[in-house]
């Protein structure tokens, strides 16, 4: 177990290092450097700038040193938590990042709070009796909710709940302070897809376990059905869904971009999108780094959970 964690952490560090090098190389390209110049000196300033003056500006900003020393310096700054300043809003990127991550964190917290019991419960109920009417209904609804893309879910839920019934506001910008009512639509949209996905996976795992020999033996031995399900089946059936739930953390970072933009919720995805549109390189770079960090960490957690829950697997 400890061995695995060490190996995976080493792998993760290697990947993070590659990604950071990749990101630095991307954002260090002439094209993006020009964007920084435009943001600082104004589009007109850059257009009238002579080549020599541009080189001077690069010199002043320390941008024309060799690649490796600058990468080293950048890495050192990142390690110290100094992610630069936003070109658009002129505040430290870390402040911006903290605020938006907190907002997305609230959203993610509620998603997981509702999704875990609901999805695992429904999935187990469906998988317990494969082919029963309850199973057919749950499976059909799950296929339907996972087939509708989130952008369409967002649209349909807005039309139904906000425009039609008027229960909740259409936008979640939270301009007059935090309110749960504004959180309902983004939350429902995220849950719509994610619950369906986890239900399908849980159902498949549970159905497979229920056909296995040891469950048949337990039933034939005369154990009460409840006990067979709770003590024997669940332990094995929940391994895959639990690891998938950790991986959903990664998926959530993708999903929040479109949902936060649609509902104008001020979270991480919105910040990333705005930064990309404005050409706010510092923010975009930092946000990508954070996103990759979270994604890799979620993979590590998922692997660790798999080993912890499944005694048959022992990586050495």
């Amino acid at each position: 177990m400890g061995n695995l964690i060490v190996r995976r952490t080493a792998q993760m560090l290697l990947i993070m290092l590659t990604v950071s090098l990749l990101l630095f190389a991307i954002f260090d390209s002439d094209q993006f450097r020009k964007k920084v110049a435009v943001a600082e000196l104004g589009g007109f300033g850059v257009a009238t700038l002579s080549d020599a003056d541009y080189q001077d500006w690069l010199q002043k900003k320390g941008l024309n040193q060799p690649f490796l020393p600058r990468y080293g310096e950048w890495l050192k700054n990142v390690a110290h938590g100094d992610l630069g300043r936003s070109l658009e809003k002129d505040v430290a990127v870390s402040t911006l990042l903290k605020e938006s991550l907190a907002n997305t964190g609230i959203l993610a917290f509620f998603v997981f709070l509702i999704m875990i019991p609901l999805a695992l419960g429904l999935g187990v109920l469906a998988g317990m009796n494969e082919g029963s009417p309850l199973d057919r209904i749950i499976s059909f609804v799950a296929v339907l909710t996972t087939s509708i893309p989130q952008i369409a879910t967002a649209v349909l839920l807005t039309v139904a709940l906000a425009l039609g019934l008027g229960w909740v506001p259409t936008k979640s910008a939270m301009t007059d302070g935090w309110s749960f009512r504004e959180l309902v639509l983004p939350l429902a949209t995220l849950l719509f897809y994610d619950v369906g996905y986890i239900v399908r996976m849980t159902r498949a795992a549970m159905a497979e376990v229920m056909t296995s020999q040891y469950i048949r033996t337990a039933v034939l031995k005369g154990l009460p059905y409840r006990r067979v399900i709770l003590r024997h089946a669940l332990r094995n059936a929940l391994i895959v869904p639990v690891t998938l739930i950790f991986l959903e953390l990664n998926g959530l970072l993708s999903q929040v971009v479109v949902i936060e933009v649609f509902f104008q919720y001020g979270g991480f995805g919105r910040m990333l999108y705005d930064a990309a549109n404005f050409g706010d390189i510092q923010v975009l770079q930092a946000a990508t780094l954070v996103a990759v960090c979270v994604a890799v960490a979620s993979q590590l957690l998922s692997d660790a959970a798999y080993v912890l829950l499944n005694p048959r697997v022992r990586f050495t």
């Binding site: 989130q150 990664n250 549109n277 990508t288």
Partner: protein
């Protein structure tokens, strides 16, 4: 002729896809000739549908799926010949569904700039289908090649390919899309690159696993003993034998790519206006017409994209079911 009949499905798909892709990607260069390009594709779609119905009649799920997909395919190739107003021409704004203005019937109403919603919806599926299928195919070429190399050759090849895949997979998909499209600029061809970056590693993993499994089989060892070239073994011996799970995954992946393209256009990152597109329709309606009485502008593209993706998913489900049965 016999070979043509044997590979009927491949020929039909080529007959539909080539003119469609040419029409969507290079329309300005085609001039007047462009308006006749799609005519042979219309009967080809119908023939493809009939072939699929006959081949998959044992699975009702696949039949429903293929009906949905073929409906959109038919609309994509027939859009220029349907009696619909120009999708980009403003006629009369905010006409409710079924209303008539200036002698034009708006079956599904018109949007805030006075363009026919039905016409935009049908033309929109053309762009989504062409770019979606192209991007998925390119992702399969790259991912499949890497997977075969990694799985069959092993060793350093495998290490390199797997590590590159892991690095790409450590980006959340949307973050990768935003990064790639910001770096390369926003166009259909760059969407292909972005989708390839995000899908190819996953495809690589699947194909690599299948190749690893096939490697130990007798027929591969027989080919190795015969002294066949590795390229021959990978493409002619291995690939046809591992195709069943790949085809199922391809159907699912077509759905994912369709979602990605729609989402990217909604975010203003993908295909450029004014040509219609489902994501663009949602984006425009969501900013300009957020009222109950105008909700048809939002619902129509949302339901269209959902039905197309449902179609792809159902085909995948049906194929999986049929392959388990045999």
């Amino acid at each position: 002729m016999k070979a043509l009949l044997k590979h009927r499905v491949a020929v039909l798909i080529a007959l539909i896809w080539l003119p469609l892709a040419g029409y969507v990607m290079f329309r300005p260069a085609l001039g007047a000739f462009g308006s006749y390009l799609l005519l042979p594709a219309v009967p080809a779609v119908i023939l493809l549908y009939v072939t699929a119905l006959r081949r998959w009649r044992e699975s009702s799920v696949a039949i429903v799926g293929v009906t949905l997909v073929c409906f959109w395919l038919l609309m994509a190739v027939a859009a220029p010949y349907l009696p619909l107003p120009d999708p980009n021409k403003p006629i009369a704004p905010f006409v409710p569904p079924g209303g008539i203005r200036h002698g034009v019937l708006f079956l599904l109403g018109s949007d805030m700039r006075g363009r026919d919603v039905l016409s935009r919806d049908l033309w929109g599926c053309q762009r989504v289908l062409v770019w979606g299928v192209t991007a998925t195919s390119v992702a399969y070429l790259v991912g499949g090649a890497c997977g075969l190399i990694g799985g069959y050759l092993g060793g350093w090849w495998d290490e390199i390919v797997s590590f590159a895949g892991n690095v790409l997979l450590s980006f959340p998909v949307m973050v990768l899309f935003i990064l790639v499209l910001n770096l390369l600029g926003q166009s259909g061809f760059n969407i292909i690159i972005a989708v390839t970056c995000s899908s190819a590693p996953v495809i690589m993993r699947i194909v690599r696993g299948l190749a690893l499994d096939a490697k130990s089989r007798d027929y591969i060892q027989a080919a190795q003993t015969r002294g066949e070239h590795p390229l021959w073994i990978m493409l002619v011996e291995m690939l046809p034998n591992v195709r069943a799970p790949i085809i199922v995954d391809a159907c699912l992946r077509l759905g994912y790519t369709t979602v990605a393209i729609t989402t990217l256009t909604f975010l203003g990152l993908g295909l450029q206006p004014p040509d219609p597109d489902w994501g663009l329709m949602i984006k425009e309606a969501a900013t300009a017409a957020m009222l109950w009485k105008y909700s048809y502008m939002l619902i129509v593209p949302a339901l269209s994209v959902s039905s197309l993706i449902l179609g792809f998913n159902l085909i995948a489900d049906g194929l999986r079911e049929m392959s388990l049965r045999d």
